[in-house]
Symmetry: C2
Subunit: 378 residues, 2 copies
């Protein structure tokens, strides 16, 4: 067996310490996956990601399908070889980007027809196609195509999307099993995605239907898209309570530093978010004392590192005054240094969370992080 | 003595192998200095520059004076500490940028009055001020303020600029000696700049006048600004023939890969140019086989490194197909990888040139590089 998942410990909150084994190495969970949309985590060389200890990154199927194309990547040996990254990669299904980036979306039971945001060309993404693309990319974990709706949504809309998501999940699974298992050599795990908007009973229904299809792991999708954090947590908990204890759970697209432990406490094992990389490019630095908006004039002569408590190579060498100057001057180096630090912050936050689960003090750790971030940006 | 320069060998062409000692390490010459305009070599961390073996970089006084300001940098301990770079730094005088970037320049014998290209504020740059700024920056090598004129220029214009350049050089030297040598602790070397446009006799006259002022090193300025390469070489040779053999010679703002050896053969020891960094950001890759315009469709499936003969960390890991994709996708990582490689190419070119001088075959090496670059971009 190339893949496995093992829960090593569950604490009083429901948080799990686990280990996800893939053909490209073991991943300690809960894990944060830096986002590498277009076959690169923006402004970081892979060498930096390795130095930072990233064990798994995310690639966006929508972007890679449109450019450079999954066929090209497949022909060149798959995404790992194409981008020279030997550790694990999870790819999403492309669905979320079709719904958020593309034009002229038309959803039918067959799939979703859309125009590329790059050149306006028309494409049809079906559950089978999304699975096929991800097989060509050769990611370690692939996601099924789901229907993403805006929230708050009327119950009937959510119910219809749930129904379609389940039907698509079944088709995606059938297609995947037919293709991927052909020679008994499993090189990819395929996860289902729980939908149901903000309706607890629909979340439960979605989870039950996906469990019946039987995936090796499950994601919770369509959350953290604008609804209150309490609702995100509640919906996550509803789904997680039903999902099999021995399989990994992935909450898609989260979250802020002060929210991560809340999701972990709802039994989430995997997360991804563009926040650390995107915020870095906008001069927002995450530190142990809260956010530092480094362009602020108060940092002009500040000779401290971005975060005095941080052990990353940026904090070991460069000052806030220097970073502020680089941002003011519009230098690319600013994004490089800030991104490096922010990814370190997130990966380190998860290390601390894993340690807190180990020692049974996640709730205390979580309140401390929240208190530091409640004060707002410095 | 904190500084010294030693010519280790002169070959038949007039090329010199030398060693420039500074308080921040010894520099093997001929040397190429990567340009770090705004206290960073664009898109490279200092760690990368160290890995690449850069022994000295250039900072632009005009930019640093306007932002973040020499007083701020001085207060924070100087440019080396500000940008966390322990090796040598050469700063220009700001003159060239005033003439090329700023608005409403008004030149008088006192200095040059200009408006900042950033905010339109009026500033006066005098020979004394340029020296003062560079002392505050704490660069290892500082340049005197010179008058830069466009070429081709009428003889009378060139003559007047030469006269003013010499007068400014004298004032800059006096000011410098008064300030810098105060406690007998020489932390900076100040170089004069030979002007004279494209008139051989004016170049000689300028050199003689500067030699009389007595600098520890001399630059040749106002060249490679549009005139034919032959003229650049001729003017360089005219100046170099008169300059003291035991002192370093710096040809400012050059050059293309296939031209570097020509300048070295005219007795030049130091060079700087934005070309490798700027070209990299525009997807122009320098290789041992000539230029590679990596956005070209022919590289879409090219799994070779940028330069199969290159030993840099980018060529060791990434393919042309991947770089092409990163540029097509507008990823910052493209600039990071391309810049790293191009700087390696230049520093390695200089290593090969030093070796060619050592073994007495610079002319042969030079023709080989020219032949490879004559074919034009691939």
């Amino acid at each position: 067996m190339n893949f496995s998942f093992e829960v090593l410990k569950t604490d009083a909150t429901g948080a799990r310490l686990g280990r996800l084994r893939t053909p490209r190495g073991a991943i300690e969970t809960p894990v944060f996956m830096p986002v590498g949309t277009q076959a690169t985590v923006k402004s970081l060389r892979n060498e930096a990601l390795e130095e930072l200890g990233a064990q798994i990154i995310l690639g966006n199927t929508y972007h890679l399908y449109l450019r450079p194309g999954h066929e090209l990547i497949g022909k060149l040996g798959g995404l790992h070889k194409f981008m020279s990254w030997e550790r694990a990669i999870l790819t999403d299904s492309g669905g979320y980007q079709v719904f958020s980036l593309s034009e002229l979306r038309k959803i039918t039971d067959e799939g979703v027809r859309f125009r590329s945001h790059l050149d306006g060309a028309e494409h049809l993404l079906t559950p089978e196609k999304a699975a096929e693309i991800q097989l060509a990319l050769g990611s370690d974990i692939a996601m099924v195509l789901d229907e993403c709706i805006a929230t708050p949504a009327p119950r009937e809309t959510a119910k219809a999307a749930l129904k379609r998501t389940t039907a698509w999940a079944k088709r995606a699974r059938d297609f995947f099993l037919q293709c991927a298992g052909r020679n008994g050599d499993w090189r990819q795990w395929q996860f289902g995605i729980v939908q149901g908007a903000t309706f607890p009973d629909l979340r439960r229904e979605s989870a039950r239907q996906l469990i019946e299809i039987d995936f090796p792991g499950y994601a919770v999708g369509g959350l953290a898209v604008g609804e209150p954090h309490d609702i995100t947590c509640e919906m996550t908990a509803e789904a997680a309570a039903l999902l099999p204890k021995g399989k990994p759970r992935y909450l898609m697209g989260v979250g802020r530093p002060e929210q991560i432990a809340d999701y972990v406490a709802r039994g989430i094992d995997m997360m991804d978010c563009v926040l650390p990389t995107r915020a870095a490019r906008h001069a927002c630095i995450y530190t142990s004392e809260g956010k530092v908006l480094i362009k602020n004039a108060r940092y002009a002569q500040d000779q401290r590192p971005l975060d005095p408590a941080c052990s990353c190579s940026v904090c070991a060498r460069y000052t806030r005054a220097y970073l502020r100057h680089l941002f003011a001057a519009g230098e690319l180096t600013a994004a490089i240094l800030a991104t490096h630090h922010n990814i370190h912050f997130y990966l380190d936050l998860l290390r601390q969370i894993r340690e807190a689960i180990e020692f049974g003090n996640l709730a205390k750790f979580s309140s401390e992080v929240q208190a530091r971030y409640a004060a707002g940006p410095a």
